[in-house]
């Protein structure tokens, strides 16, 4: 299957979404006519989500539930749409100068926080200073690493913020967008304890929060987009596991889920699924500096042993896009289209193993419970070509515990499975995962040519320049296979089509209920 260009895929995805919607509507003759009319005010949406593992704190949050909850209450300079276009939100427009080493953002007029304080450049600067301060312990620090340092944010005037970068970075707007999920804009005097001081510029405000059971949100009367949100409020309920929340949705106790697993939910009865292509994936990382994967041929053998369409079917219900062992998802504009898609080839596997002098390949695969199914699929598929995989399951706490410099399993085991949430730009994968100095380089892959190409990519000022560098990087990854990537996950979102409309899937599970209305 040829790798679709982003436009083609979008059309396809849009078409798919439309088809899904039509299919969901068309079969049922009792579809309410109000589904087509103008949106009306009113209604309370009941949403389910897994219990946040930790207190909800925008600066340090990392789990989907906390992120979605915060996104209903606070907002970003720029929003990331489900096809990764940048949508102006608190920033009206932005320009890069000095070869994209300096960026100026003009803020939207007339925006106030839910307590009446006007939004100004001071609050924006404070929000980013907070993220850049090592004492806040934000994961955003890693996103800004090498690009923006403390002191790089300045107020030009009450409605303009200027960022001075450490190096040219043409995709900088993505780093201050929702793509950097901690970068919500909060008041300048925000001092922590978000659930008690939930003041933001988002469409809803927090009425109550209980770490065990859920949250209640109501319409923010001071929201900058007049007439919106249409909903009176959102009731969020926490669920200890996904099976319980699926059942709640099916039995009508919930209207939608923040996070939906494609293979578990079916569009039956009142449930509809909105589908969209994504850039999330699960990487099979192989350590290139120790046996058995220190030989390129052995790594390639594993790559050729996988039946990628079957993986897609098994773990993503067929809605994903095939991966080609490089980090440029088909959805990315710079994704190269010339590299032939790798497919299962048992003869090639034998040939490669023989060339490497490995008569019988056996290795341990380390992972944590969410990736158990994928691990089982890989084990079964590799068994068919005579490769033995021993499953090494750890608890999530153990898998991600330890030191990133020395012993944490997810970065140091021979072969492991790690899931990555969708990123808006490929450099957010390539930089940490496969550059010589990458912070999350579990394969220990070092390729100076690739490092140079990435720097050039980030500095490139136009699409053509980026595509050229992307091709070099992708070809290197495809050949050397430090990471086996068989699938780019598609995303779905389930909702009750009889009661609500306007609920869209998002590849990073982001939530935007501004345009949701009751039927």
């Amino acid at each position: 299957m040829s790798v679709l260009s982003r436009r083609q895929l979008l059309a396809g995805a849009g078409g798919l979404g439309l088809v899904a919607l039509l299919a969901a509507c068309g079969v049922d003759d009792e579809e309410s006519p109000a589904a087509d009319g103008p949106a009306e005010q009113g209604g309370t949406l009941r949403a389910g989500t897994p219990t946040p593992p930790t207190a909800v704190e925008p600066v340090t949050m990392y789990d989907g539930s906390s992120i979605a909850l915060v996104q209903l209450i606070a907002d970003y300079l720029i929003w990331l749409d489900s096809d990764f276009t940048l949508v102006p939100r608190l920033a009206q427009k932005w320009t890069g100068t000095n070869q994209n080493k300096t960026w100026e953002f003009a803020l939207r007029e007339g925006v106030v926080f839910s307590d009446g304080t006007p939004l100004d450049a001071t609050a924006v600067k404070a929000s980013f200073d907070r993220l850049l301060d090592p004492a806040s312990k934000s994961a955003a620090l890693s996103a800004f690493d090498g690009v923006l340092s403390p002191g790089g944010v300045a107020v030009k005037d009450p409605k303009t913020v200027v960022f001075t970068l450490d190096r040219a970075f043409s995709d900088f707007p993505y780093l201050v967008s929702a793509g950097n999920y901690n970068a919500v804009i909060l008041k300048a005097d925000y001092a922590g304890d978000f659930t008690k001081n939930a003041i933001g510029t988002g469409p809803f405000t927090l009425k109550s929060y209980n770490a065990s059971t859920g949250a209640s949100l109501v319409r923010n009367p001071k929201y900058w987009e007049s007439g919106k949100p249409y909903l009176d409020g959102v009731e969020v309920r926490f669920y200890q596991d996904s099976q319980a929340e699926q059942l709640a949705l099916q039995s009508g106790e919930l209207d939608t889920l923040f996070i939906t697993e494609p293979s578990v939910v079916q569009a039956v009865g009142d449930i509809a699924l909105d589908e969209v292509g994504g850039t999330g994936m699960t990487a099979l990382t192989l350590r290139v500096d120790r046996a058995p994967f220190d030989k390129k041929e052995v790594r390639q053998a594993v790559a050729y042993a996988l039946d990628r369409p079957a993986v897609n079917q098994a773990v993503n219900d067929g809605i994903g896009e095939l991966g080609n062992d490089h980090l440029y998802a088909p959805l990315f504009a710079s994704a190269p289209s010339e590299i032939p898609q790798r497919a299962k080839d048992p003869a090639k596997v034998k040939e490669l193993l023989a060339a490497a002098g490995v008569s019988k390949l056996a290795f341990p695969l380390t992972f944590d419970p969410p990736n158990k199914d994928y691990a089982l699929v890989i084990q079964a598929q590799l068994k068919e070509v005579g490769i033995e995989v021993k499953l090494d399951q750890r608890t999530s706490a153990a898998f991600y515990g330890g030191n990133q410099e020395s012993d944490t399993p997810w970065l140091f085991t021979t072969a492991n499975l790690v899931s990555w949430a969708g990123r808006a730009v490929p450099s957010q994968f390539v930089n940490p995962m496969v550059t010589s100095t990458g912070v999350w380089n579990g394969s220990k892959y070092k390729n100076p040519a690739l490092d140079a190409a990435l720097t050039a990519y980030d500095a490139a000022t136009d699409d053509a320049g980026r595509k050229k560098q992307a091709k070099i990087i992708a070809a290197a990854l495809h050949e050397d296979v430090p990471v086996v990537l068989s699938l780019w996950n598609g995303a779905v979102r389930a909702y009750n089509k009889r009661k609500f409309r306007g609920i869209k899937a998002h590849p990073s599970w982001y939530v935007d209920y501004t345009n949701v209305s009751a039927i």
């Binding site: 930790t54 090592p134 004492a135 934000s138 059971t213 709640a248 099916q250 706490a397 330890g402």
Partner: protein, 317 residues
């Protein structure tokens, strides 16, 4: 008996102390890092180390234990590392939820078990008895997550008679909350039913054969009055001890039901706290549960002795 009571009461704090030490040691040994649970895997080592330092996690074990012990007994149970809420509030909220479910299940269990046991006993060895006994046995053997799953699919998803999750909306009335708890309570009741009913049945059979019941029958007393006056009264002793055993189980064995029905009870809290290495919460939950368990055990023993005059008087049985 007062001696027994006092001795057992005095032993409780010692037992709890031992538990707290064991929990501390166990958490030490468990792999994983609570700082990472709070910050996520993508936070840097330095950041995680900083948080560990702030939480005081790098101090030597005896220091941390002593520190915790002192605060705990002076009433300061600390703050949950992961959820950042005061532990005492959290634990009691969850305990209350679990107790509500346990008490509800217990309240449903008693009359049903008595009814079934008496029926089986009165008609002993006849088809009714056989069916009830075997059914009770089968249900008692089936793990509660199995019956729970079947109940859920039939009554919540298909028939929609009851909600799927056991958790009511905040501020809901008691009736509404109990409505949400029907399915999990029923799955617990089904589990315990057979055991208790069997005891009731046995004593029913014994009473039915006893001299005074025969005498009453000969006098022409009605079945109903016989049952209520003699049979039930004699069933209370074995029923109590059987119920007591179940009470202990109900409080401690709720984890799988809580997970299945998404009920935020103390069992689920214990599990999450252990997996996350959230020590303050784990300690408090383990100790509170331990305390309840020891109290219930003691209470059952006392009641048993009170009801059985032979034991109360110390006569060898």
């Amino acid at each position: 008996m007062r001696h027994l009571l006092l001795r057992r009461l005095a032993a409780i704090p010692l037992t709890l102390l031992a538990i707290s030490a064991l929990v501390f040691l166990a958490t030490e040994v468990l792999p994983g890092d609570v700082a990472r649970q709070i910050l996520g895997r993508e936070a840097s080592d330095a950041t995680a180390a900083q948080l560990r330092d702030e939480l005081g996690l790098d101090r030597p074990l005896p220091v941390r234990y002593a520190d915790w012990l002192v605060s705990f007994f002076s009433g300061d149970w600390g703050t949950s590392y992961t959820l950042k809420v005061p532990v005492r509030e959290l634990v009691f909220e969850r305990l209350g939820a679990s107790m509500l479910l346990a008490v509800f299940a217990f309240v449903l269990l008693v009359p049903v078990a008595l009814l079934i046991g008496v029926l089986a006993g009165l008609y002993h060895d006849r088809p009714v008895d056989r069916i009830l006994s075997v059914t009770g046995l089968a249900l008692g053997a089936t793990p509660e997550f199995v019956t729970g799953v079947v109940l859920m699919v039939v009554f919540a998803v298909s028939l929609r008679w009851f909600p799927v999750s056991a958790q009511a909306d905040p501020g809901a009335s008691l009736v509404n909350r109990l409505e949400h708890l029907v399915l999990p309570a029923v799955s617990l009741v089904l589990l315990c039913l057979g055991y208790v009913a069997r005891h009731v049945r046995a004593s029913t059979v014994a009473s039915v054969r006893s001299p005074y019941v025969r005498a009453a029958e000969l006098r022409g007393a009605s079945r109903f009055s016989i049952v209520t006056r003699h049979v039930l009264r004699n069933s209370t002793v074995p029923a109590t001890s059987a119920l007591g055993v179940q009470a202990q189980f109900l409080l401690g064995g709720l984890v799988s039901v809580e997970l299945l029905f998404n009920y935020p009870g103390i069992g689920a809290l214990l599990l999450t706290a252990a997996l996350d290495k959230d020590l303050p919460t784990l300690q408090a939950a383990a100790l509170v549960l331990g305390f309840c368990y020891l109290l219930i055990t003691l209470a059952v023993d006392v009641v048993y002795r009170l009801l059985d005059p032979r034991l109360r008087l110390g006569v060898a049985v």
